[in-house]
Symmetry: C3
Subunit: 310 residues, 3 copies
């Protein structure tokens, strides 16, 4: 398995098509572990969260425990940081990596996970580094596409919401652009939070078909996937502008009615009101399945990083 | 076992006499587990505490681990809530319930545990929901009565302290009223924090004998059980009134001297000074045994909720 | 083993030479546990941290898990304390000690661990009690000396930095004075934070050779061990004084160049800039090995306290 060459998981850009397919296969296998797989039974995962993200932390910790491993954890690692005692991250990681077998790090500074991986004696998984990456989110997103529409080629996807600042949509767009064939991407956003040029130029280089739209309803009827995200109040000059923008990007009954029967709605969660609660019961609402997929992808990655490689 | 019909533990009102007796028997069995019972060895408990309550959390987590299970935990779940990101509790529970086998939830809002149980795919145990319920506290209270006086009928109990606001005494009173025969309840409190009418009316409906008193010393000589609770300063108009009220409800040597030899003193803990430290060494001081009983009751409940039901 | 007489670990003064040697031997054995030792597989450690110290907590928790045990943990125990609810530490410990097999307590008040050990029904380990002790730090320090220079007699050591306020150097000095033969101690510090008289008088009583110096460079060339610590800004009247003092106590290339080839540099960590990063790659930089030794010392102590003693 090419996947076994992974030493750390810092960026979704470490994954090519072959590795993604291996990851999908392995994640699928993880779904059917009904009793504790003892594969990792002598292994310790260290959850090192410099900012709380209980959802992500729980997903990793549950994955580790379901593989038979154990966990030591902090929601409060910021005490290590330059604040109180002035220690650098490298020293922290050098010491901490003596206590376990894999570090899952969440940090508010871009690049922190990479720095950690350079001094750690054990594998490091990036669970989000500020404005940087959150690779397991992108990987569970593309795995969800694979599970839901049975392929990762030949599809159209609408990325909706705050595309300028959304780490999730930026990462997923790049991952798709690099690994999927014959896709069409439609960016749907208010004018003030349009997808940035770096990503659009990247798509042009890769010859990926994309266009930009302002109306979700118009796009909803044609795509296979709507990837919905939040629009945040603080990006707008006034409440009025915000309320106006937000209104036309909500997925509700009206949007559902025009969507294709075999299309799906994704969302990285948490949602606020950008998907109406009534949508939850529609079979096309894939976002809770998507969150659950994260568990299997993380189990697969832990297995790859921690199993004896011979 | 009728107890096996339980799907969640949200309110002590879910328990009738038959279920209580089954619970007592099962809790008794839990006392003698000397090595790890592997019953729950592939199960994960999720401690989801929206406000810290280390004592309660530790009791549940110890119970789970002693049954062979594992735990993922947060003391800090409030970050999920409507504050920062605006997610509703239902979404959180939908996602979280994919990560384990039982959720123990502590929330500051009454009704939160019930809401959680309605969307969760796994059992939910209420570990306190604001002004609402804390059913495992009531259950360990009544189990303690059973252990200490060998019966839950034919006894007299004095409920002492702030009866107007005390969740514990309100819940226990209702549980006793519904399930115990030939009991007498004496409410002992300052005038400004007397037991409220809803509970008194409930007792009248159930034909439970009760009366109200202001002097602990007078009552102490006649009852089988004193259930002591705190009186909080903020309920009183002035420090003087508070100090005066507090003084006459303290259990000390003087009260011990008039109590019956086979009576007991209970307290939900933590105590401040409403029980003098000198009382601790008296055999009638049951409050530390009471706290310890919580472990066995919680083990029993976890076993009931999590064991394969066939 | 004399070590088996230990019931709690509250102070490094509980350890004599014989017990230290037994501890070293047992810690050495812990290094080679490559798969989970099941020795403590039915045991629960309770991490009761009244102030966060993730590094120390992780070290203990990793030690426990590597022995096959499990952990329940709080970084946030201060909620128990006299603040919110007014409970005394004794009550907390009485209840908590029913939930596990050993308590590791970190508290901001000197003497807290001792108080805990007096009411606990299970062993207590002091993981730091304010200005008091942090015995496992001293024990890992002396174990590091043993591992690095293969003996704990016949050596010279420079204690450097804030010697007036440094708990670590004060404790280690006492431990050395009581248990090591033919040692020379050199205190190197600015005038305003010199080693206090109590320790110097203790050394005189024990006939331990010591002297005081102000220049690290002068001392560096002659000693077997430099034990470096931080100098804190708040001890100095002005930034200028602080900067001046700090500068002459930094270990850098210049200091390395004069040190003996088989000497070592220790530091309790975290460091700020009192050891230059370039020093890390020198074989004499023992501080990361020192931190790692803490794991083995803690494993050994847990084994001693928790294994059935027959």
């Amino acid at each position: 398995m090419k996947l076994l060459s992974l030493k750390n998981v810092i960026s979704s850009e470490q994954f090519d098509r072959e590795m993604l397919e291996e990851l999908f296969e392995l994640s699928d296998k993880m779904r059917s572990i009904s009793i504790k797989d003892k594969t990792l039974h002598s292994k310790i995962m260290i959850s090192l969260f410099y900012e709380p993200s209980t959802r992500t932390r729980f997903s990793f910790e549950s994955a580790m425990i379901k593989m038979g491993g154990t966990v030591i954890t902090t929601e409060n690692a910021a005490q290590f940081s330059s604040g109180a005692k002035g220690e650098n991250l490298e020293d922290t990681i050098r010491v901490i990596s003596g206590y376990g077998d894999v570090i899952v790090i969440r940090h508010y500074i871009e690049g922190a996970a990479h720095i950690a991986s350079e001094v750690s004696t054990i594998p490091v998984i990036n669970a989000g580094d500020g404005a940087g990456e959150h690779p397991t989110q992108s990987l569970l997103d593309i795995y969800t596409i694979y599970k839901e529409i049975k392929k990762i080629d030949n599809f159209s996807i609408a990325m909706v919401g705050d595309l300028a600042n959304g780490r999730t949509v930026r990462s997923l767009t790049k991952l798709i652009a690099k690994n999927c064939k014959n896709v069409e991407i439609i960016f749907v956003s208010p004018d003030n939070v349009k997808m940035k040029d770096d990503i659009k130029n990247f798509l042009r280089e890769k010859n990926i078909s994309f266009r930009e739209e302002r109306e979700l309803k118009k796009v909803a009827k044609e795509v296979d996937i709507i990837y919905q995200t939040r629009i945040q109040r603080e990006r707008f000059k006034s409440i009025e502008e915000y309320e106006k923008a937000r209104g036309i990007y909500i997925i509700d009954k009206e949007i559902l009615d025009v969507m294709k029967d075999n299309s799906i709605i994704m969302h990285p969660l948490p949602r606020v009101d950008e998907i109406a609660l009534t949508v939850d019961h529609d079979k096309r609402a894939a976002y809770f399945r998507q969150a659950h997929n994260g568990l299997f992808v993380r189990m697969a990655l832990l297995k790859v990083l921690l199993e004896e490689k011979s």
